[in-house]
């Protein structure tokens, strides 16, 4: 019973780095437990999006040209990294809003930056194993040897960050959960088929290619490709800037939305 006394009569409000870290750790554990039911769906999705595409693309061709294979194999990691943050996350939050269970998590005493960091951590953890598996399968199937460079680390971190922050904004800044669900369904197609992630932008009609340039997806593929290959990707610096810009915009929109009260 002394615990009850301690918690109630503790001096007021916590603040500072210790509080931030404790909240971050606790909420990360919360999110991981909360994803448990989705684990099967997640695994299936990651395997299909990763290994599925890597293997399936060969069937598109009589004999797949080496460049086409390379583009797909270096683009698939981007999808693996983004899928939880950009697609699954907003769908989960939309469902919570529909069931009205969204407010409890919002009422918890976690600083907003810690909450975002916890979610980012979970999205990263949900993507990294899939990336590894996809690359290994690519290597085995097409005999590709990737020239890994240290640039892969910031590329992966930033891609996951931007995907997560965009999804975060979609979850919290868009009030109508049905709209969120619709947008995420649409995004699946946009990401897979109409963005130059799995193939070079040159293969898109000119107007679509220039439109693509303003969005982060193509650039995510560029920076990841730069970390996995040598000489294939160009315009790396501007790609970094565009991806980072979208990430910051997503984070800002989320911060505004989460701080907003009705």
């Amino acid at each position: 019973m002394t615990e009850l006394a301690t918690s109630v009569t503790a001096t007021g409000v916590r603040a500072g780095a210790g509080y931030w870290l404790d909240s971050y750790r606790a909420l990360t554990r919360w999110h991981l437990a909360g994803l448990r039911m989705w684990l099967m769906l997640l695994t299936v999705v990651q395997v299909l999006a990763g290994a599925g595409f890597v293997l399936g693309i060969a069937l598109f061709f009589d004999h797949i040209p080496a460049t086409a294979a390379l583009y797909v194999c270096t683009g698939v990691p981007v999808v693996n990294l983004m899928i939880v943050g950009l697609i699954l996350g907003p769908q989960l939050v939309a469902e919570q809003k529909l069931q009205q269970s969204y407010e409890f998590v919002r009422s918890l005493p976690v600083p907003r930056t810690a909450a975002a960091a916890a979610w980012y951590t979970v999205c990263l953890l949900a993507g990294l194993p899939a990336v590894t598996v996809s690359l290994l399968i690519a290597e085995a199937r097409y005999g590709i040897s990737f020239s890994l460079s240290p640039a892969i680390v910031p590329a992966v971190a930033l891609t996951a960050f931007t995907g997560t922050m965009m999804g975060y904004a979609l979850s919290h800044a868009v009030p109508n959960p049905m709209v969120t669900q619709l947008v995420t369904q649409l995004l699946v197609f946009v990401v897979f088929g109409f963005s130059a992630i799995l193939f070079p932008a040159g293969q898109l009609p000119a107007w679509l290619a220039s439109l693509n340039w303003w969005f982060p997806f193509e650039h995510m593929a560029v920076i990841v490709r730069a970390g996995l290959t040598a000489g294939l990707a160009t315009g790396i610096a501007s790609s970094y800037l565009i991806v980072a810009g979208w990430g910051i915009a997503g984070a800002a929109a989320s911060a505004w939305a989460l701080g907003r009260r009705g």
């Binding site: 009850l4 918690s7 109630v8 409000v13 916590r14 606790a26 269970s101 998590v105 600083p111």
Partner: protein
């Protein structure tokens, strides 16, 4: 450093951790006054009920306290903290059990309770002990390792309560905590709520179940159409009715209200129920009149009893609450 509220030495200033809403107003779309200049205060360690019909504005009030809504006007203070200006502090100092079910489908019961305790700042060992204590006290042992998805509505509610009180803040806000809970466990719940009060937590309890509220709260406020229309202890609210009896007549469906003799007071008709108040001295007359109604086929039955808080509630709001003494 734990400070016991009860043992403050005389002459030393102690922080007043009362919860005070002052002129709290929430207006939607320029016209809908969900909360209209509500002023109330809850002392530290007090169990305070917010009673009112659906849509009265009770949930709106508590959501402003926890920082999910922003007031149009007025302020909310908890001790030295301004909860409206500092919603981050509000979330730390208050725990909130929403009316809707908890998002714990993927969590096991003990896990959900412990994780919430950790998020609220408790250390691992203490939280574990507290969780065990609550599971036992609420008779949830059978479900300790069950996934949330498999729980019934009532058990989920109890788990929600445990999540919110495993490491409570200074104010524990409970929005309809006993919904769907079976009568036996409901009693356990009320015991725990009382215990929270004894340990220094203020409890802000939203309910529309008058009979339960009457038994377990220290003070209560009746809220209707966004306004606070009565406040006080259950007995003080019933004081005006001292010396009165409640005469309830259940009319046949589709029957017009019969003509009432002058010694029948405060008639309120809710559905087929005609609830009136009479003087104790008129008890015999009352029985005779009601029996005559039954004999003539105007009413099905009648009941005479002591006035309850339900009557005050009905009189003030014109609504009958769920769980009134004709239900349970």
């Amino acid at each position: 450093m734990a400070v016991s509220m009860a043992a403050a030495p005389v002459g030393q200033s102690v922080t007043d951790w009362s919860f005070r809403a002052e002129g709290l107003t929430k207006v939607y779309g320029g016209t809908l006054r969900a909360n209209d200049a509500i002023t109330l205060s809850v002392r530290s360690g007090e169990v305070y009920g917010l009673l009112g019909p659906n849509g009265a504005g009770k949930t709106t009030l508590v959501k402003q306290a926890i920082g999910l809504l922003k007031p149009t006007a007025g302020r909310i203070m908890l001790g030295p903290y301004d909860l409206v200006a500092d919603p981050g502090a509000a979330r730390q100092l208050c725990s909130y059990l929403p009316q809707a079910p908890m998002p714990i489908d993927s969590f096991r019961v003990r896990e959900a309770i412990e994780l919430t305790g950790r998020i609220r700042g408790g250390d691992r060992a203490s939280v574990r002990r507290r969780a065990g204590e609550l599971i036992e006290a609420l008779d949830l042992g059978d479900w300790e390792h069950t996934m949330g998805q498999r729980l019934s509505g009532g058990i989920k509610r109890l788990v929600g309560f445990a999540m919110v009180t495993v490491w409570p803040g200074r104010v524990v806000i409970l929005d309809e905590p006993t919904n769907d809970v079976d009568p036996l466990r409901r009693r356990l719940l009320w015991d725990r709520i009382r215990l929270l009060g004894q340990r220094g937590c203020s409890v802000l309890l939203v309910t529309h179940n008058v009979m339960e509220a009457e038994k377990s709260v220290d003070r209560l406020a009746i809220i209707s159409s966004g306004r606070l229309i009565a406040e006080g202890t259950p007995s003080s609210l019933k004081a005006a009715d001292r010396g009165n009896l409640r005469l309830q007549v259940m009319l046949l469906p589709e029957t017009a209200t019969p003509a009432l003799p002058p010694w029948i007071r405060q008639p309120v008709r809710v559905g087929h129920n005609l609830i009136t108040v009479i003087d104790e001295a008129d008890a015999t007359r009352g029985i005779g009149w009601a029996a005559d109604l039954v004999g003539r086929g105007v009413a099905e039955e009648y009941a005479l009893g002591a006035t309850t808080l339900e009557d005050v509630y009905v009189r003030l709001t014109g609504h009958i609450s769920s769980g009134g003494n004709h239900d349970d």
